[in-house]
Symmetry: C2
Subunit: 464 residues, 2 copies
Amino acid sequence: MDLFEAIREVVGEAGLIVGDDVRARPADWQGRAQCGAMAVVRPRTTSELSAIMKLCHQARQPVVPAGGLTGLVHGVDAQENEVQISFERMRAIESIDVIGMTMVVEAGVPLQSVHEAAAKHGLAFGVDLGARGSCSIGGNISTNAGGNTVIRYGMMRENVLGLEVVLADGTIISSMNALLKNNAGYDLKHLFIGSEGTLGIVTRAVLRLRPIPASETTAILAINGFDNLADVFGLASRRLGGLLSSFEVMWREGYELVAIESGRHQAPLAGGYDFYVLLEATGTDPDHDAALVEAVLGECLEQGLAEDAVIASSKTQRNAMWEIREDSQTVRQILFPASVFDVSLPLATMNDFIEALRASLHAEWGDQVRFIVYGHIGDGNLHIIVSPRPWSPEARRRVEEIVYKPLAAINGSVSAEHGIGLEKREWLSISRTAQEIALMKQLKAALDPFGLLNPGKVLGEEAG
Amino acid sequence: MDLFEAIREVVGEAGLIVGDDVRARPADWQGRAQCGAMAVVRPRTTSELSAIMKLCHQARQPVVPAGGLTGLVHGVDAQENEVQISFERMRAIESIDVIGMTMVVEAGVPLQSVHEAAAKHGLAFGVDLGARGSCSIGGNISTNAGGNTVIRYGMMRENVLGLEVVLADGTIISSMNALLKNNAGYDLKHLFIGSEGTLGIVTRAVLRLRPIPASETTAILAINGFDNLADVFGLASRRLGGLLSSFEVMWREGYELVAIESGRHQAPLAGGYDFYVLLEATGTDPDHDAALVEAVLGECLEQGLAEDAVIASSKTQRNAMWEIREDSQTVRQILFPASVFDVSLPLATMNDFIEALRASLHAEWGDQVRFIVYGHIGDGNLHIIVSPRPWSPEARRRVEEIVYKPLAAINGSVSAEHGIGLEKREWLSISRTAQEIALMKQLKAALDPFGLLNPGKVLGEEAG
């Protein structure tokens, strides 16, 4: 019996897609490319996936596990000799423990569904990001997603208590811990969180939930000068402490592009300032929390750290502020084709890094380059989009050099939250030592000796 | 040249201890047993340890890395054929980045020194526990220590950004990341955090610091009935949110033993209630935070959830409350010899578990058994001390059966924060599946094929 007949016996007729039907499927959430795999397998359960992997292992068939296809680093690109594993038939929210504040989900559940299901019980999930409607929990786990509330709740890693994965040989590792503290042996889940499907395939997870905050106060500040920006962050951290849940910064060009130039938004603050900060505080005491944020903003203005500020006075205004931060559509329409970066670096080096970048880009392309910067300053994470004209593979390459190379000297990372995928492989050594990369390859070889899981991603073709 | 001559050339005369001088050294922080190793090696740097491990690897010489010797699971016991690695000459606090809020330390630094050094800059470290004066950061990392503020800041794992380790063959893995977000390849540090020195030896770390909270409000509540206890925790979590930093519960017997029977403390509340909760809130707004805690306590009393409560009105009163919680000396003097447990289990199963345990113990030993329970309820972690008379190895064994076996059915853990060491090895399968344990052994074999690192701990003799 050939491999696909055997797989079809496991997953049923609807579980296996081959031929032209594969090409009709997208390779990314925008549908700009078509799926390149030889087949798509859609298991309904972990047991089915285990059986599939046993067959693939026997046949040395490489597989590419894919989630909501919202990644930005070509982390789930599939070649003609590869089988894509889809989780679109594993979208169950299995249970919610309201007292223990945990939720058990299958890998295919969209992030937004987790938020909605938790909210019905007065609970919230600590990871949120712009792609919430499309991205899947399994993908969020495999890439250790970050997002807008990392300074308060941490990344995906800190919000996953237990995990179930299928290894390359089909073994099911069910590590569905629901306890906040468990030091009984090695904490295996951390091997699989953030390793982009190269060590195992995430099938189910136990998520940690939190009480929904009773208060939510959102503001935008305009700031001139990076030192003032850093001081505002320091002041907000000290005064708001555990209330501070977001501190998102837009450099002038990005704010003006989206809030003003696009014509799609009502700009809450005028253009022309160096930085725009979207600050959000969530807590348990609405009157007090709003007053505290107002007091903090007042101090920033009085001390001359901020030039202007506005607090959202309704949920509608709050959402409008976030829509400016999350309007990737405008950015794509105006700036693409472009290079998208997701770097992290120490706060103390950030301004020099960006100013040197600005100078280098203009030295290379004069006024034929646009670039915008925004990011989660609170955790040192910047997203940078660079759009040189004319666009070419060589231009892309040159932009990458200009952005990545200076990171080595300041201990920055070439990927804060997007991962490595195919796109950043050759830059991995900027952020990791040869010994670290050798150890990664040793782990890959131990867990996936035939290199069947997401081949070529993170570590390159020769790994596994 | 024999192994020890070669080691002496690396570490110098003072760096190698052999013979009777080894026996003069303690095996635990109380000095109750003497060090059983054939030699103690005291490197001054990571490079020295790397050279030592290259020699040991060549000679197939097993080693036992040891920290402050405050562990409770025989995690660093050394045999006559083993060499102990001591970090007493690696106690430097190398640097503090006040803006980035990080600290670089060597493994031998005591936890308390970290707190003190951070405090000088208005910063705090998120992990604290009773053994702070003796335990070392390297040991805290290797065991993924928890402690008193896990509900606010997480365990050691969440408070370590970067790590340097020496592998079994002497390779130095320098993964000294100082960034809050870094998804550039596998997050290797999590392999070594909590694996009790069996996969690599921690030599240096980058710790995450936080601003020192501007407010600290501490209270003790007396509560009758487990449902009320759970409701008080729920109410405090909802109302205090990110302010709630400790929620430590003492079951009646333990509170009465320490606060009243010992004669060492002034009891803040009378005996006779089912539970005593030590609640602490830390925040940024002293007046508001104290008023909020007071309001929450008021609600607990009004709603009949708590019977009595007292708020510490001074730092002295606050410390006196914590001294009751942390008085392990009294517990040892009155109850030892005894079995010490560190389990975690879902809050919803906790009362039934303890009541069944109480019944089983009295069924077995009548009134010839004392037991006390206290723990970090907020994260499902209970410490249980059982003292049956007459004491014997058989009695210890029987107590272990009575405590551990019921955990399997309720997905509890045989170790919440103490680790496995030698002591809990045979109970590991209560909390972990055969597939999980097989994967742990596979990792051990990949990283330490000759089984040279902390032999026998966690996984047993045959691993590696």
